[in-house]
Subunit: 271 residues, 2 copies
């Protein structure tokens, strides 16, 4: 039950796509259900950007996972039939080696000295984990968003070791606008004084919040956004917006003035 | 030539939409061409979020304006025929009263004590300026983006004082996603340590840069973005992205891993 950890690359270093090396690499993972005798019922489940290995509760009192609705007896990923393995991504810092891990060469955390890595590197580490579990062929690899990108990499790099790949809502390449919005998210975190060039003690909450807001904005179309979050009247909107306002300077002010404009509502309400 | 300034609301205070009062209010503006005898050739030109009153050069050696291509003899806004007035918005801090102005009651800048304002407030101040210039009817009010919102307010609030309104690329109400992205821009600035709760000395450059990036991202559709900024091969992309990388921590790392994924390119290039 709970988080398991496996040391990998103990004899030979892990060579990343960019040429950097790490030794050893630890991977954290959680499992649901039982591996059958011929090891043919394993499903590799891959989390999205902010996820962890904790995909579902292991018992009633357990912390909720990110996919409780789909993992369990009789559910889509039926734990009476399948053995579900959910690893924390390489670099993920929640049980897997990442920037917050101790560098064995220096005795202090890697922080900004941790090498950059690719989705292919993440998948390579997962493949090594599957090997140590003596599973030669996965029933399926399933992931959404960044997890879906990993699932696709499995189909390309380890097609002999997977029966099917389920890529949920992720592309074959990041689009130019996704690249732009991702850069903005990194900028928001890097600019937070608490980030302290990576040597942070407290989390850079403000930067993380801004970055998360950017992420959330890009998960919906403008049309769906309008449908879900349509406004009330300008009178109410102005009042509460001004009363609750914590932002007080220009262009702080001007963007707020833009937001308050709703001529359509005003004509409907006041004229 | 250059910036002119006019004091308004000297006898009676300016009452903002939200009930706050200011007295007096100064408005900075620049003009191009000559007002004719019957004062019938005046065009009010309104700038966008980051603009100023300097819409065009007044002479060859002058600093470029934001609409040099459209203002001048024989151009769209023909200064041989029209008298073009371009005010800095109320709250704009570039010649007009705003958060950086001295509060006459305290002798120190308003900063965060400056009241929140609306597009309607901005237009009210412009109307007072037009009155002091003894212009009873404008030939046209023209603006783009936030300037277009102001032009629309002119059509609603002062329809007797304007012959035509040209609203370029601005909506009748901010959409929910525009509101979200505007909030993110304010957050990015508010989180910058140099913002210092509005009492900044140095500009909060990092926050402003992030905010501007968010703005720039929202000015194009995803399709146009892809067309303009399509990527080169993954091999080149990874190399330069990693070499130039200044961002080193997670989710800093993970968003970068997402950005580097281009399975389409890889299959085309390497297989």
């Amino acid at each position: 039950m709970g988080l398991k950890q496996q040391l990998l690359f103990q004899k030979e270093a892990f060579i990343l796509e960019n040429g950097a090396t790490l030794q050893p690499v630890e991977i954290g993972y959680e499992t649901y259900g039982q591996l059958n005798a011929d090891k043919s019922n394993a499903i590799l489940l891959l989390h999205a950007l902010t996820g962890t290995a904790h995909a579902a509760k292991h018992h009633e009192a357990d912390t909720p996972g990110w996919w409780d609705d789909y993992i369990g007896p009789g559910k889509a990923l039926d734990t009476d039939r399948f053995f579900v393995i959910c690893p924390n991504v390489f670099g993920g810092c929640s049980g897997s080696t990442g920037p917050s891990s101790i560098n064995p060469k220096t005795g202090i955390p890697y922080r900004l000295s941790f090498p950059g890595f690719s989705v292919k590197d993440i998948v390579r580490v997962q493949y090594e984990l599957i090997k140590t579990l003596h599973i030669s062929k996965l029933k399926a690899v399933i992931g959404g968003s960044m997890g879906g990108m990993q699932a696709t990499e499995w189909a390309i790099c380890y097609s002999d070791h997977v029966n099917s790949v389920i890529n949920i809502a992720s592309p074959l390449a990041a689009s130019p606008d996704a690249i732009g919005f991702n850069l903005i998210q990194r900028m928001a975190i890097l600019n937070d004084p608490d980030f302290n060039d990576g040597n942070y003690i407290a989390q850079p909450e403000g930067g993380l919040a801004t970055a998360r807001m950017v992420g959330m904005m890009t998960y919906r179309t403008s049309e769906l956004f309008s449908k879900r979050f349509e406004r009330f009247t300008v009178a109410e909107s102005s009042k509460s917006a001004f009363q609750k306002s914590i932002s007080r300077s220009n262009p702080i002010y001007n963007t707020k003035a833009i937001v308050l404009l709703n001529v359509l509502m005003r004509t409907a309400t006041f004229i």
